[in-house]
């Protein structure tokens, strides 16, 4: 009951950001797919036949076009916004005292925060991406079935949002000076992202993401439980 009360509060605070990000991704993503549909599908088939296997993947995923960049920008943007909303705002408004003096443990408070952030990212980025993929994969939209790899890649790009969310949360919890170690969380997130872009194998990419999440979660946990408010 206490956890759900906290989760509800956190979700309510994340809601405006999650809705904005989902709407942004959905509208621009749908426009991109619609734009692709305006082109001659028959012509695309002929182009596909002319090219060698090297270009197969590119052509196969063409209906999703440059959605990757849009997905990345939205995921990172939402991650940053949620991190600030959940871990910075209470410092500005002075509400940590009210939040922390609950008949529950700090771990429960942090778990509720992270669950709310995760749910928001999954719904606003993951589910919208899944919908866009499904829509672009319809026979009328795509000359050939889209590869599953592309779908998983989209989720991995969305996962970068989670990395940035945790990193910004960590920066918010850190009481160090901004020119010392305060921004290290964000630096780590950028490093994880760069490493992720270097991975060709999906499992390596997934592994990089998991390592990043585990490290950031551990640091956040430590910081939140021992921090002075």
């Amino acid at each position: 009951m206490r956890f759900f009360a906290l989760l509800k509060k956190e979700l309510r605070e994340c809601l405006p950001w999650a809705i904005s990000a989902a709407a942004f991704l959905l509208i621009l993503g749908s426009l991109r797919i619609w734009d692709h549909m305006q082109r001659d599908i028959g012509y695309q088939y002929r182009v596909f036949e002319r090219y060698s296997e090297v270009y197969y993947y590119d052509l196969q995923t063409r209906p999703l076009g440059d959605l990757g960049l849009l997905l990345f920008m939205t995921a990172v943007g939402l991650g940053l916004a949620l991190g600030v909303r959940q871990f910075w705002v209470a410092d500005f408004t002075g509400t940590w005292g009210f939040i922390l003096h609950r008949s529950t443990r700090r771990t429960t408070i942090l778990t509720a925060k992270i669950c709310a952030g995760l749910i928001s990212l999954i719904v606003a980025i993951g589910l919208v991406w899944s919908y866009l993929y499904w829509r672009a994969n319809l026979p009328d939209y795509s000359p050939v079935p889209l590869p599953k790899r592309c779908f998983i890649q989209g989720w991995l790009v969305g996962g970068v949002g989670l990395i940035f969310y945790l990193a910004v949360g960590l920066v918010g919890l850190s009481k160090a000076k901004w020119y010392t170690t305060k921004m290290m969380g964000l630096g780590f997130a950028i490093w994880i992202f760069v490493t992720l872009t270097q991975q060709w194998m999906l499992w390596w990419g997934f592994g990089t993401l998991v390592i990043g999440v585990v490290v950031l979660l551990y640091l956040m946990w430590e910081k939140f439980l021992n921090r002075e408010f």
Partner: protein
């Protein structure tokens, strides 16, 4: 059940190299209404945050309801009400929402009727968001939220700060409602001495991080005195009387601020110093507090150069 509700032992806090709280050692018994007074920046908020486990002490320890402040369990927090400085509540919530949120943490303890009654008494709309309330109205919501679970211990950090006289009176009446329930303990910090005088039965005076007074309000009221001596010639340059805090001289008058000096000692000193007459000066709690926490030595008036 322990009879000491709140205890600190050499509680010390440094912020970097700045000493915020210096070896605070106090014991507050059950059923006590304790006014915690001090000037701005004297360490009241730091002490309260340490007691509630929001800050880690540099040295020493503190307990709330027998539990170490650094390890407060959910069960203990459930027995402690807290009103934060500035009444910082979640701004986007309405009164109804914040009451639902708060009640989830006090299962079987939350008195919804009491909360509604208090909100009605203060004349607040349950549908209005916290962000649309004034500081005074937020203070009322804050008090109702802290009192509705009927806590054994209520800790309030300068709850009447920034409130006008009417709202402050309502706020204090709300506090008195809790006080009327047996066995409830209240620790409230304030720099409005009138409020302390009205409700507290014990006083803690903190100055520059150090506890200067820890006694009953009555003892403090009796202990700090100001006496005006009249001389037929200039007053003596050297004043040697037990409990002297400050003195102020004019041509033929001498004003002494004394702590714990008995009437006999005063009469004796007046006689030995050759005073023609002496009279005690009436002081309220605020005067006593100001005199008590003023820097030691001769009082100097601030004088703007050129005036």
């Amino acid at each position: 059940m322990t009879d000491t509700v709140l205890e600190t032992q050499g509680l010390t806090k440094y912020y970097g190299s700045t000493l915020a709280l210096d070896s605070m050692t106090v014991k507050i018994p059950r059923g006590c209404i304790c006014g915690f007074v001090g000037r701005n920046g004297s360490g009241k908020t730091t002490a309260i945050k340490l007691l509630l486990g929001f800050l880690n002490p540099t040295a020493g320890s503190s307990t709330l309801l027998g539990c170490d402040s650094q390890q407060l369990t959910p069960a203990i927090r459930q027995r402690v009400g807290y009103v934060s400085e500035g009444h910082r509540l979640i701004r986007w919530m309405t009164i109804a929402e914040i009451a639902r949120f708060q009640s989830a943490f006090f299962p079987g303890q939350w008195d919804g009727k009491f909360f509604r009654d208090m909100i009605d008494y203060f004349g607040l709309s349950k549908k209005q968001k916290i962000k649309h309330f004034s500081t005074g109205e937020r203070a009322q919501v804050s008090l109702a939220l802290a009192l509705a679970p009927n806590p054994e211990l209520l800790v309030m950090d300068d709850p009447t700060l920034g409130l006008d006289a009417a709202i402050r009176r309502q706020f204090l009446e709300g506090m008195i409602r809790l006080i009327m329930q047996q066995g409830r303990t209240i620790l409230f910090s304030s720099h409005i001495l009138g409020d302390v005088e009205r409700v507290a039965d014990r006083i803690l005076v903190i100055d520059k991080g150090a506890i200067r007074v820890d006694c009953s309000l009555e003892q403090f009221r009796n202990a700090v005195k100001k006496v005006r001596f009249v001389f037929s010639q200039p007053p003596p340059a050297k004043i040697d009387i037990e409990g002297l805090l400050h003195f102020k001289t004019s041509e033929k008058e001498l004003e002494l601020v004394l702590v714990g000096t008995g009437e006999e000692k005063i009469a004796e000193w007046a006689k030995s110093a050759g005073a023609a007459d002496y009279q005690p000066v009436n002081m309220n709690l605020e005067d006593q507090f100001i005199e008590y926490t003023a820097p030691a030595g001769q009082t100097k008036l601030f004088c703007w150069e050129g005036i």
